[in-house]
């Protein structure tokens, strides 16, 4: 029974079309992650309209692969430009740049790649073990437990607003108010539609997400495009040199970073960026040589680099089992899961077991694929970072427009 299940899942993943989707999304993720200002969340938002037309497994696979690659690729401009490619690399950007300045750019890039892979695989292992086990418990839930679970999920919006919880509550209320618009209530009474037929259908999730996560970042980018980028190092040697030594020297740090990252990822609200900040701080706190932190010391990069990639997989645990997002990426993913008929919830591992195991395989595959593609991205970093932003941003913006249109064929 289990063996046929695994076999079917493998067959789903090792389909030429799915593999092609994985490689293409990997390249896309590396590109988006490596360009400062474009984040993994944005990569997900941009993928959604494309995945809309795919079968469930390739759709989810493309998001899993692209985000894993993007979080790693964020380390590349950290080392070379002192600009985090994604917020998840911000915690150790100064450290990585200091290493490059000291002539240790290869070590910093290599550590970013190797320990991203290890962290990602660790998080995946926890996801594979914990999610079905948790689902088993959640199967005993009745309406009361679900009610409180939904409350917990909604309250995670409050934790996301780190600065001021009150403003988090305000955003939550405004979101709920928007969702109340339209006919979609038990009485089927048109609420807040002002007689408008388009409003009666309510707001569609995907255009909202594209607007919130992608267009907002484009606006931020075009507002600050005056400064040119300067690379600290253009020739990059063998990045795997000394990685084994690092693994032997910092085994506890790797384990600690991966564990903390997975846990933070699994907590509703907090994602890869917070995981990286916390584990960088933890690494410094428990280090034998804390005075070296900030001067170009690899220890923090090892630990935080593992943490942000493991957080990515960790975030899927509550997303799959309860439909509660572990981070902003899985917040989008949950929408995609519903569209694809893979409604998250404890029964997903019974009703859609093959698809779930296929997604787990994709996680493993994506993290392994990170090694060859990551090397290629690092080698090509010079060209990658020279991508002309002045035409890139307009093209992405047009893509946002068409992507939103593609969901319900209307500009409204």
């Amino acid at each position: 029974m289990t063996l046929t299940l695994l076999g079917n899942a493998l067959a789903l993943v090792f389909d030429p079309y799915v593999l092609w989707v994985i490689v293409a999304s990997a390249a896309f993720g590396l590109f988006v992650g490596a360009i400062p200002g474009l984040t993994a969340t944005m990569a997900t938002a941009l993928l959604v309209p494309v995945t809309f037309f795919m079968a469930p497994v390739p759709a989810i696979a493309s998001i899993v692969t692209a985000t894993a690659m993007a979080i790693f690729a964020g380390d590349i401009p950290s080392c070379l430009l002192r600009m985090p490619g994604t917020p998840a690399s911000a915690a150790y950007t100064d450290e990585a740049y200091a290493m490059t300045k000291k002539g240790q750019g290869e070590v910093a890039l290599g550590a970013g790649l190797v320990f991203s892979v290890i962290g990602g695989l660790f998080g995946t292992a926890v996801l594979i073990i914990a999610a079905p086990a948790l689902a088993e418990i959640a199967l005993k839930f009745s309406s009361f437990e679900y009610f409180w679970l939904v409350i917990l999920g909604l309250s995670s919006a409050v934790f996301l607003a780190i600065g001021d919880p009150l403003k988090g509550v305000v955003s939550l209320l405004l979101g709920l108010l928007v969702s109340a618009i339209g006919l979609d209530n038990p009485a089927a009474y048109p609420r807040f539609t002002f007689g408008n037929a388009e409003l009666a259908g309510g707001f569609t999730l995907i255009p909202i997400m594209i607007g919130m996560f992608a267009v907002s970042e484009i606006v931020r980018n075009v507002a600050n495009m005056d400064q040119p980028w300067e690379m600290a190092q253009s020739k990059i040697g063998n990045i795997f040199d000394g990685m084994w030594t690092l693994t032997k020297r910092y085994p506890i740090q790797i384990l600690r970073g991966s564990t903390l990252g997975t846990a933070i990822g699994a907590l509703p609200g907090a994602g890869a960026d917070i995981a990286a900040w916390m584990s960088y701080a933890m690494s410094k706190r428990f280090s034998k040589e804390p005075e070296k932190f900030g001067t170009g010391h690899v220890e923090g990069i090892v630990e935080a680099g593992a943490a942000n990639n493991s957080a990515l997989a960790g975030a899927w645990i509550p997303a799959l089992v309860f439909g509660i997002p572990g981070d902003s990426i899985t917040a989008i993913v949950i929408g995609v899961l519903y569209i694809k008929g893979l409604n998250p919830g404890p029964t997903i591992f019974m009703e859609k077991a093959t698809e779930m195991y296929a997604i787990f395989f994709v996680f493993i595959l994506a993290n392994l694929l990170m090694i060859p593609l990551g090397v290629a991205a690092i080698k090509g970093a010079k060209q990658l970072l020279r991508a002309p932003r002045e035409v890139l941003m307009p093209v992405i913006l047009l893509f946002c427009v068409v992507g939103s249109f593609a969901i319900n064929y209307s500009v409204w």
Binding site: V170, L177, Y189, F192, V222, V402, V411
Partner: protein
């Protein structure tokens, strides 16, 4: 742009009151305790409470806060034009795409946007046409999304 918390708070509370007033007209559901007005009502009460708390918090705070704070990029005309063109361009697409057609609108927008971001004509022009073509091929041809043809209806391919 960063507004004073008190201003935002007042606006939120006002929104809450408006919603509360608006939902008075919602009909109750026969035989049910909770009608369509119940949940928006809850949200509105929450908005009023949070808005008031924001105002109170601002009034009690020792340090003054400007009514509205402008971000640094507002002082750079080029950046203002770029940000304005993003919003204006999106509005333009919404109103013009159906009559003008996707292809013309998209090319025009791409040109304006990239020129405002200081791309040379040599880069902007081929990119505008190329990107429009790629989107046409991938979305219109491959994914069968009915992008409007507008004035080009006769030449549809």
């Amino acid at each position: 742009m960063k507004f004073n918390d008190a201003l935002i708070g007042a606006a939120l509370a006002a929104l809450g009151v408006i919603v509360l007033w608006h939902i008075q007209g919602f009909p109750p559901m026969t035989g049910q305790k909770y009608g369509p007005a119940w949940f928006p009502g809850l949200i509105a009460i929450g908005l009023v409470i949070c808005g008031s708390l924001l105002v109170l918090g601002r009034l009690r705070a020792a340090s003054p806060q400007a009514l509205a704070e402008l971000p640094a990029w507002v002082r750079r005309p080029r950046a203002v034009a770029a940000v304005g063109s993003v919003i204006g361009g999106l509005l333009f697409y919404i109103f013009a795409a159906d009559s003008l057609g996707f292809h013309i609108t998209a090319c025009l927008l791409l040109l304006v946007w990239s020129r405002l971001l200081r791309a040379s004509w040599l880069l902007a022009l081929p990119m505008a046409i190329g990107a429009t073509l790629v989107i046409h091929l991938s979305f219109y041809k491959l994914l069968k999304v009915p992008l409007p043809w507008g004035v080009f209806e006769r030449f549809a391919f």
